[in-house]
């Protein structure tokens, strides 16, 4: 495997922010380097001719699979809230949402 100089620049902190991952500076650096390697590797996909490719689900003769509008049993509020890290008054409690 060619572990040479990375060819793509990734803003790891930005991506980690999108994914709501709080990374240490050490992780940002390590992951950054590893991701650069992986991305350099996946560049080889550019060699493939993908003109006129029909993607899955776009083929002809495809049938819908939909659900009829019929009610199914729900969980009880107790069951629903059983796993909540915090709950009160039938609600899931979360840190304050700021709009």
């Amino acid at each position: 495997m060619d572990h040479s100089v990375p060819t793509v620049g990734i803003d790891v902190a930005y991506v980690a922010g999108l994914a709501r991952l709080r990374l240490s500076p050490e992780e940002i650096e390590t992951f950054g380097n590893q991701l650069e390697q992986v991305l350099a590797y996946v560049k080889k996909l550019e060699e493939v001719d993908v003109q006129d490719v029909v993607l899955a689900g776009e083929e002809k003769g495809f049938q819908n699979r939909l659900r009829l509008d019929l009610a199914l049993p729900e969980l009880s509020p107790n069951e629903a809230l059983e796993n909540a890290p915090q709950q009160r008054g039938g609600l899931f409690l979360v840190p304050r949402i700021i709009e």
């Binding site: 991952l21 992780e27 590893q34 029909v54 059983e82 796993n83 909540a84």
Partner: protein
């Protein structure tokens, strides 16, 4: 010989003849687990009392009546944890049964416990688990493969009669090969994914890990078939997969992809493969070289598709509704960040980052969309190949089980180990892995038989013919 060493088929006979009672089966397995699992660590979680209770009431006339099955710890079982070997899901108790669990219960199976895995099925070694590594029963210094390493090790170490795993890029077949048991990845859409914690939705399938090919067919028959709760599940009922077991393979054409024998294969694996090919020829099969020209692109394609899907699938693990929430946070953003930072292991974070990046603004076409298109090319390769053969044979993995810690911090090397299994998921095909030899050091080697979509009976037929004319499957790891 201990009851725990039996196959499903053997146990069925004994149970129906009332030579053993389901309770004895469970007890025997619990004994075996208590004597070897401290060395293997195949299980995350056991429920002995409940298993004994179900054994008491078991109806042995049902297809799996009284047979204990181990379940990978990412399939939802009502009232049980489902940790996915992640700290993030610590404390979570699933309030519902996966479709496959409903079917196991309806078939009379006893749910014995939950097997270890790479966290959220991300890995090929079962080293990425919050609950500790699972070891290979054939050599405790080596990995059992992954991500269904706990299931494979449990079956190989005779701690389970059979197990369920899940396979996204080889996660059933590769550990089966490393541990010397049988693993079957069904056609995409064959088995409902409802209740299977998603890693990569367009690639994931649940499948059996067993001691024999016939057991794999039987277990698949129970879990497969239409499910209105999974939009991607085939609407047809599952056929009987075992009908062709015992039919000879004389005259059948088997393809050998030339691209799979070019670089980096372990010489002992290659030698075992050549022997297996010769053996299949001896059974009357016609072996033919075929070409899968897009093979060199399959790993790159896989890692883009799988991580993109995973980045969204794993977004729900945020400590808001269930699982572990990082304590002592000041605000919402800190809670998200620390919950996910403390909850996820490194490999999971790496993949979430890659997937998030490849979907982020401006990169979608270059990465995800292109990968999906190359994926169709890979699929076309197989469609073309299957015009000239009924199944394809390859090694399951280019190498036997590697040592613990050997590959954890080199993600690319780790990913490359999946080279022979990944394309099967990308193309939505079915494939089985079964033992085809051992290295000099005594490590199992796996043979992979790939079939076209919905041709499980063919891979089972070929696998059965090979298995029944060899003795690899009768060998057991030296655990005492």
């Amino acid at each position: 010989m201990s009851i725990a060493f039996a196959t499903i088929h053997e146990l069925r006979k004994q149970l129906l003849a009332k030579e053993v009672h389901p309770k004895e089966v469970v007890e025997s397995l619990l004994d075996r687990i208590s004597s070897v699992d401290s060395r293997i660590k195949a299980y995350n979680y056991l429920h002995p009392e409940r298993a004994l209770e179900s054994a008491e009431k078991a109806d042995v006339s049902l297809p799996l009546g009284g047979i204990p099955i181990a379940v990978k710890d990412l399939i939802s079982v009502r009232g049980e944890p489902c940790t996915c070997s992640s700290r993030l899901l610590e404390g979570y108790i699933a309030p519902y049964d996966a479709t496959v669990i409903e079917r196991l219960r309806a078939a009379g199976a006893i749910l014995l416990g939950r097997t270890n895995m790479d966290e959220f099925a991300m890995g090929s070694s079962t080293e990425n688990s919050a609950w500790g590594v699972t070891r290979n029963p054939w050599d405790l210094s080596r990995v059992p493969g992954g991500s269904s390493g706990g299931s494979a090790a449990a079956v190989a170490a005779q701690e389970a009669i059979a197990a369920l795993g899940s396979d996204t890029g080889g996660s059933i077949r590769q550990p089966a090969a490393f541990c010397g048991c049988v693993g079957l990845k069904p056609t995409y859409g064959r088995v409902s994914r409802y209740g299977l914690t998603a890693f990569a939705s367009s690639l994931d399938q649940i499948g059996p890990l067993t001691k024999t090919v016939a057991d794999a067919g039987l277990l698949l028959e129970i879990i497969a078939g239409a499910d209105p709760r999974d939009n991607t599940c085939e609407p047809e009922p599952a056929p009987s997969f075992s009908t062709k077991l015992g039919e000879e393979i004389r005259g059948m054409t088997l393809g050998v992809p030339k691209e799979y024998f070019v670089s980096g294969m372990d010489p002992e694996v290659e030698a075992a493969m050549q022997k297996a090919i010769a053996h299949l020829e001896g059974l009357g099969a016609i072996l033919r070289e075929i070409s899968l020209p897009h093979t060199p692109y399959s790993i790159a394609t896989y890692y883009l598709v799988a991580t993109a899907e995973a980045s969204a699938n794993l977004a729900r693990f945020d400590g808001m509704r269930y699982g572990r929430r990082a304590p002592g946070c000041n605000d919402l953003l800190e809670t998200y960040g620390r919950t996910r930072d403390e909850g996820f292991g490194r490999e999971v974070k790496r993949r979430i980052l890659l997937g998030t990046y490849s979907l982020s603004s401006g990169y979608y076409d270059a990465y995800y969309l292109r990968a999906q298109k190359v994926r169709m090319r890979i699929r076309e390769d197989f469609l073309t190949a299957f015009r000239d053969c009924q199944a394809i044979v390859t090694p399951t993995s280019p190498m036997p089980a590697f040592r613990l810690g050997e590959r954890t911090e080199d993600p690319l090397q780790m990913y490359l180990a999946d080279i022979f299994t990944i394309a099967v998921n990308l193309a939505g095909l079915c494939a089985i892995s079964l033992p085809c030899g051992f290295t000099q050091a005594g490590l199992p080697i796996g043979l992979q038989i790939i079939g076209p979509m919905r041709k499980e009976e063919t891979v089972l037929q070929v696998g059965y013919a090979y298995e029944q004319s060899t003795s690899w499957h009768t060998l057991r790891p030296p655990l005492g």
